[in-house]
């Protein structure tokens, strides 16, 4: 019951925050030379531009402009993307799916590998695996994602040619239908092993690079919560019952250590979104990150603004989901102990 209340409370906050985000984005748009540039398509006649200006109340005071802009948003008008030569709303879906696929793959790698490494480090505290894990963590937090990506590109792409750039090989890609917009899923649905392999080959390197930074945080959190869990009395009590060491670690210590780690998983998703910008740029991955980097270089305001809005929305939703999951899992928190 309390979980639901908590969920409702957080859900109620979401629109408020999105409103705040919209204010910030709107403010940024007014900083550009010509706010109408967001909506203007190339080759527009002066009359059309004037009509746009009237429509969006660009000669009116700021609050009215804001209202007009929000109105446009709700009508589905996010402006014209110069880099994609199309309305933002047309292209954003596909880009979003591409980034989502990358982020999920990286997230899975980061969580699975990070939890495993952190567990070992915590159990073998102050021994070799622990030191290795800590070094890994701190390097992960100090290495710029774009540089790491370049570093891996040279051996794996240039020398070994194991992993190609981009998202797919065009012939294979067009051989199957794309209901979800995520190549790997589409390949599974179409039961095409060739497409699936192609998808994975392209996905693996960028996903690993992206996962690196997130993994660093997860390993560190998992390690410290494992160390804490291992020193708890219920671990001794479990041993005293005659349970084998592996069971004690897995079922008793780790299960409790995973709890605080889930909060970090939400945080690391923010890292994934950020890292995606550089990763998509370097690996030519056609997602939101690559989209916005092109936009930045060509002054495409509509794309940038849409990008900020959608990223904030995704980030908040993920954090909400993680917090609710945490509240559900840690019954002590929910029941107020």
């Amino acid at each position: 019951m309390q979980v639901r209340d908590y969920l409702l409370r957080r859900l109620a906050l979401l629109p408020v925050i999105m409103l705040g985000v919209s204010v910030i984005v709107f403010t940024l748009t007014r900083f550009t030379g010509s706010p109408v540039g967001i909506y203007a398509t190339p080759n527009m006649t002066p009359e059309e531009i004037a009509a746009l200006e009237a429509r969006y109340l660009l000669d009116q005071p700021i609050p009215l402009q804001y209202a007009a802009w929000i109105g446009g948003l709700f009508r589905g008008d996010l402006g014209w993307s110069g880099v994609s030569v199309a309305p933002v709303t047309e292209v954003i879906g596909l880009k979003f799916a591409a980034t989502l696929e990358l982020a999920i793959a990286a997230g899975l790698i980061a969580v699975l590998a990070g939890v495993a490494l952190g567990t070992v480090a915590g159990v073998r505290r102050n021994k070799a695996p622990d030191h290795g894990a800590r070094m890994f963590s701190i390097l992960g937090a100090s290495t710029p994602t774009f540089w790491f990506g370049l570093l891996l590109l040279v051996p794996f792409y240039l020398w070994l040619d194991w992993f190609p750039l981009g998202r797919s090989t065009p012939e294979i890609f067009s051989s199957i239908a794309h209901p979800t917009g995520m190549y790997t899923l589409d390949a599974l649905i179409a039961l095409s092993p060739g497409a699936f392999l192609d998808a994975i080959r392209h996905l693996i390197l960028p996903a690993v690079v992206l996962a690196f930074g997130a993994m660093a945080i997860i390993v560190r959190m998992m390690r410290s919560s494992m160390v804490e869990a291992m020193s708890e009395e219920y671990v001794d009590a479990a041993r005293a019952k005659g349970l084998p060491n592996k069971v004690v670690i897995r079922r008793h210590a780790r299960r409790n250590a995973l709890l605080p780690t889930t909060t970090v998983i939400g945080l690391s998703f923010g890292f994934l979104l950020q890292g995606a910008v550089a990763v998509e740029l370097i690996f030519r991955w056609p997602g939101l990150g690559q989209w916005v980097t092109s936009a930045v270089l060509s002054g495409d305001q509509a794309t940038i603004m849409a990008y900020v809005l959608i990223t904030a929305l995704i980030f908040m939703t993920v954090n909400l989901a993680v917090d609710v999951a945490y509240a559900y899992l840690d019954r002590r928190v929910v029941l107020g102990e």
């Binding site: 009590a237 005293a240 005659g242």
Partner: protein, 393 residues
């Protein structure tokens, strides 16, 4: 010396590595527990009684601890004698929870907060009574599948359990029922009302007394020969303390189980212990039948301890505390560790370590006062002799 003993601790020495050197937590400890006996291991915090208790189940983490010397022999009925300290891991795991069980001070901390109490109890059955559970579910233990065994042991993953429940609905139900019944019976045995409901609860949903009952149920699930109770009442309300102790005594009588109480609460000793062993700074300094030792303590530390307990006849304003403090245990000098606080210390006490001597049948003390004056070359002839002390403090 009868051969019917249940547990024999011989010359146990446990040390802990620390930055400044090795801390001698337990030194040369000897004691015996008979089947059905209630022994209280008494002493103040840090005297080594908890380490001794955990050593019996080999629970001391090894680093930083190490079992430097000694043996802990368990007389397993029908199987002979096992030295726990030199046994294989498998043998030790078979003993833990099955021949020797332990309950801990704070049941709130000793129960895993992420699992239901029923699940934790079921683990014990899964580990030590697997065949029984499987048989109760109508499964032939020798033909049981891995999934069935894992579920019985509470080790199946979430996914595995769900798949099993879907694909073999009937079997899953009977298996779960068998587990639940065993758990419920165990809980009911300790007087817990409504065991089916309690089983599904998480530790934080239960009261302190209830949690301790659950721990006791868990410890006694496989009918062990020895129960080690490490400060079982310290974390409980006074009103519940008595009930829990009576419960333990009751279970003890019904099953003929021995109990080792680790405590600093002398009232427990008075009411429930047959024998007492007093520990100080890692050594046992006095042993004997509880009633006699409490009425007539022989070791200066014991008498100091008893003198420190306020009771009705203590004059107002006087609380006799033992002056000084427990000595540091890192690389300790060879001497009686109580010498600096002992009102009867002689020069010999500061240069040699006294061993446990039998001064009467069943009574042992580690103090030089019970050696003859000639052996020790003591100048101070005014030192009190055992005869003078026999009249009480």
């Amino acid at each position: 010396m009868s051969q019917d003993w249940l547990l024999k601790v011989e010359d146990l020495s446990v040390r802990f590595q620390s930055r400044g050197g090795d801390a001698h937590a337990v030194e040369g400890v000897n004691f015996e527990i008979q089947p059905g006996e209630t022994l209280a291991l008494v002493g103040e915090t840090g005297c080594g009684k908890s380490v001794t208790a955990r050593s019996i189940l080999r629970l001391v983490p090894e680093p930083p601890g190490k079992y430097v010397a000694g043996s802990i022999k368990l007389n397993v009925r029908g199987k002979g004698v096992v030295d726990i300290l030199s046994a294989t891991t498998k043998e030790v795991m078979a003993i833990r929870g099955e021949r020797i069980s332990m309950i801990f001070q704070d049941p709130g901390k000793a129960l895993n907060p992420a699992l239901t109490v029923g699940s934790q109890l079921a683990e014990v059955f899964g580990q030590h009574r697997l065949e029984m559970i499987l048989a109760a579910a109508g499964i032939d233990p020798s033909k049981a599948s891995r999934a069935e065994k894992r579920i019985a042991k509470q080790r199946a993953s979430f996914v595995q359990t769900r798949i099993f429940a879907l694909t073999r609905k009937k079997k899953a139900e009977t298996l779960q029922k068998a587990i639940d019944n065993a758990v419920a019976r165990s809980l009911a045995d300790t007087g817990i009302p409504n065991p089916k409901k309690i089983m599904k609860s998480y530790p934080h949903e239960l009261s302190g007394g209830m949690k301790q009952r659950v721990m006791i149920a868990q410890a006694l699930a496989c009918d062990p020969d020895l129960l080690i109770a490490d400060e079982p009442t310290t974390a409980l309300d006074v009103t519940i303390q008595a009930r829990i102790l009576e419960l333990i005594q009751d279970m003890q009588k019904r099953r003929g189980m021995a109990v080792l109480y680790i405590t600093h609460d002398l009232s427990i000793v008075r009411e429930f212990a047959d024998n007492i062993a007093v520990m100080y700074a890692g050594h046992i300094v006095e042993t004997g039948p509880a009633k006699e030792v409490l009425a007539n303590p022989q070791h200066p530390y014991t008498s100091g301890l008893l003198g420190a307990i306020p009771h009705r006849r203590t004059p107002r304003g006087e609380l006799a505390a033992i002056p000084g403090s427990v000595p540091q245990l890192i690389n300790p000098p060879t001497q009686c560790h109580f010498a600096s606080r002992c009102p009867w210390a002689a020069s010999a006490c500061k240069t040699m370590a006294p061993a446990l001597h039998t001064i009467q049948e069943n009574r042992k003390v580690a103090c030089f006062r019970f050696d003859s004056a000639e052996d020790l070359l003591i100048e101070n002839a005014g030192m009190p002799t055992p005869a003078k002390l026999a009249g009480g403090n």
